[in-house]
């Protein structure tokens, strides 16, 4: 029986590498009737902020070729509600619940984590330093120094596992990854959404409200996310969680080949709530088919010399 367990560090062991991505699974309750939360490895909650947020005005979502834009604006009930009302209920599911935390300043993150640290039921934190849909949401994530400062500040107040979620909207994602690793991150998730814009052709302005931009997710961004994961993998030694455009087992395998230790399913859950559970089963089958016992054996090692598939299959080249 192949082994799907994954160790994210600080004692956080996931039963399998498949998680539901932040913002696509609420706080669990929203889709517990549709997704078997006992079968997945982790649930990353909707971004949680110090104070409650009503979110952005509509329209908040728009579809594009193979993707969707969202500008939810971090609608959430605020960290106190999450810590006192939601967290006590998290343990009803067997999946690890990792609370995604967002803020505009280092201090807001620290306050959120302090408050959440007082609650049981929380397996770890995912620091969203990359939300494109709120003012200043990207500032902390674009500069390696700022990202490290944030990570170190949160590290100082919690012993729980810290996952830092990176923005792809940067010149050098590897540099940010290396900076947060040195500052004490236990794992990295990559990537958040890409800044996109869709126009309303009759109205001659953006479809989405506000500045009009939103975050692009879905299959359209998969090759970009896989590239980001490979770049992060090359820059750090800690676990990497791949996210962006996964809709089936093959997609998840691609991220693992690129260097991910775990994955998150985001947008794909919307049209098909069973996606994550299907991928858990699919990964087990894939390991059996390929004949290996752990997913990490799938990983591509760029340094190793390339052997052609045919050659590997024992077909000799002509003399």
């Amino acid at each position: 029986m192949p082994e799907l367990q994954v160790d994210l560090g600080r004692g956080l062991r996931l039963s399998n590498p498949v998680g539901l991505a932040s913002g696509t699974a609420g706080f669990g309750f929203e889709l517990a009737d549709l997704v078997d939360l006992d079968r997945i490895g982790a649930l990353y909650t909707k971004g949680t902020t110090r104070m409650p947020r009503a979110g952005n005005p509509p329209p908040r979502v728009a579809e594009t070729a193979g993707g969707m834009l969202n500008s939810i604006g971090l609608q959430n009930p605020g960290v106190e509600h999450v810590a006192t009302v939601y967290a006590p209920l998290f343990s009803q599911w067997r999946c690890a619940v990792i609370v995604n935390v967002a803020g505009a300043t280092v201090d807001e993150y620290v306050q959120c984590v302090r408050i959440l640290d007082g609650a049981d039921g929380i397996a770890g934190y995912e620091l969203n330093i990359s939300c494109p849909n709120i003012a200043h949401g990207l500032d902390l994530g674009r500069d390696p120094g700022e990202a490290a400062r944030l990570t170190a500040a949160v590290r100082a107040v919690t012993e729980r596992c810290i996952v830092v979620k990176l923005s792809p909207n940067v010149s050098d994602i590897g540099a940010v990854a290396a900076a947060v690793e040195s500052a004490g991150a236990d794992a990295i998730s990559a990537v958040n959404t890409f800044v996109g814009l869709k126009m309303h052709r009759q109205a001659r302005r953006p479809v989405l409200a506000g500045s009009g931009t939103g975050g692009l997710s879905g299959p359209a961004i998969k090759p970009l996310a896989v590239a980001a994961v490979a770049a992060v993998r090359a820059a750090v030694r800690i676990p990497v969680i791949g996210v962006g455009g996964i809709i089936d087992t093959g997609d998840a395998v691609d991220f693992i080949i690129a260097g991910a230790d775990a994955v998150q399913i985001g947008t794909a859950t919307f049209p098909d709530p069973s996606t994550a559970v299907r991928i858990v089963d699919g990964l087990t089958e894939h390991l059996a088919m390929v004949g290996i016992s752990h997913l990490s054996e799938l990983r591509w090692h760029p340094q190793e010399p390339t052997i052609g598939l045919f050659a590997a299959a024992g077909v000799a080249p002509p003399p």
């Binding site: 913002g23 889709l31 549709l34 005005p57 579809e63 993707g67 209920l89």
Partner: protein, 280 residues
């Protein structure tokens, strides 16, 4: 912490009939026993051609009719998703996630007025059947469209029920009264005995809301609204609609608290500033 999805299933149905209703409107019927069994008038389902991931997201459609284990939807090809759904053929698979959302309040008001604009006809056949079963004596439908070709066939509202009266209105006068569907509304209002239900384009609903504000309050005044949806089941927070909150303006989720809402709950001024969902 919604727990209202216990009735929701993702079922793969088989298309059993596709009827062209004129004006590009199509009625797609599929064997979907679960949905057909539990859907209430005004609820919707998230549809896609069986197993298809292009387009990425499903599309929301009101359940228009149910009969035994078959559920029917009325739609017209306006964009990529509806084009593919409208091209389905009998025997092909259709995925339906539902029933979703809050339906209409069906109580025993003596009379009911259904205001239908264009494709807003979709939820009415099911609602009308339920109203009549719940004891409503007369159901009047005022059904409007740009032209005769785009009118939902009157007989499909009534489905043979003599207690249902349909009045047609077209903008170009090609059938029935010439004008906007809301022009025909005031004559049918009579305060406390007539429940009012509406579904149609935003400007129509706004005009209706204005008419109702100047009239004696009906026992029920509900509209079915639309918003672009990511999930359809309350998780993505994408389908916000402006409502009049306790402390001023607020948002609610069309897919979970709607799509049917009480007229006075909606913040119509704010809704008017939004572009139509369909981007052509």
């Amino acid at each position: 912490m919604s727990t209202s999805l216990r009735d929701v299933r993702d079922q793969r149905g088989e298309v059993v009939a596709v009827a062209q209703l004129g004006g590009g409107m199509v009625e797609v019927s599929a064997r979907l026993p679960h949905l057909a069994g539990v859907a209430k008038p005004g609820q919707f389902a998230q549809l896609r051609c069986g197993g298809s991931t292009t387009p990425l997201l499903r599309r929301p459609f009101s359940v228009a009719w149910t009969e035994d284990d078959v559920a029917s939807f009325v739609l017209a090809p306006v964009g990529v998703g509806t084009r593919r759904l409208a091209a389905l053929r009998p025997g092909e698979p259709l995925d339906a996630l539902g029933p979703l959302g809050q339906g209409f309040t069906v109580s025993g008001a003596t009379r009911a007025l259904c205001v239908s604009g264009g494709l807003g006809c979709a939820p009415f056949p099911l609602l009308i059947r339920a109203l009549r079963r719940a004891g409503t004596q007369t159901v009047t439908v005022v059904s409007g469209a740009a032209s005769a070709a785009r009118l939902y066939p009157a007989a499909r509202f009534a489905r043979g029920d003599p207690g249902v009266h349909v009045e047609q209105v077209t903008e170009d006068g090609s059938r029935g009264r010439r004008g906007l569907v809301t022009d025909a509304v005031p004559a049918h209002l009579d305060g406390a005995s007539t429940a009012v239900y509406a579904c149609g384009p935003t400007p129509m609903m706004v005009a209706l809301a204005r008419i109702l504000q100047g009239s004696p309050a009906p026992p029920i005044a509900q509209v079915s609204l639309e918003a672009p949806m990511g999930c359809g089941y309350g998780t993505c927070l994408g389908c916000a609609l402006p409502v009049r909150g306790a402390d001023g303006q607020a948002w609610t989720l069309c897919c979970r608290e709607g799509p049917v809402m009480d007229v006075e709950t909606v913040d119509w001024d704010e809704l008017m500033t939004l572009p139509p969902a369909h981007v052509a």
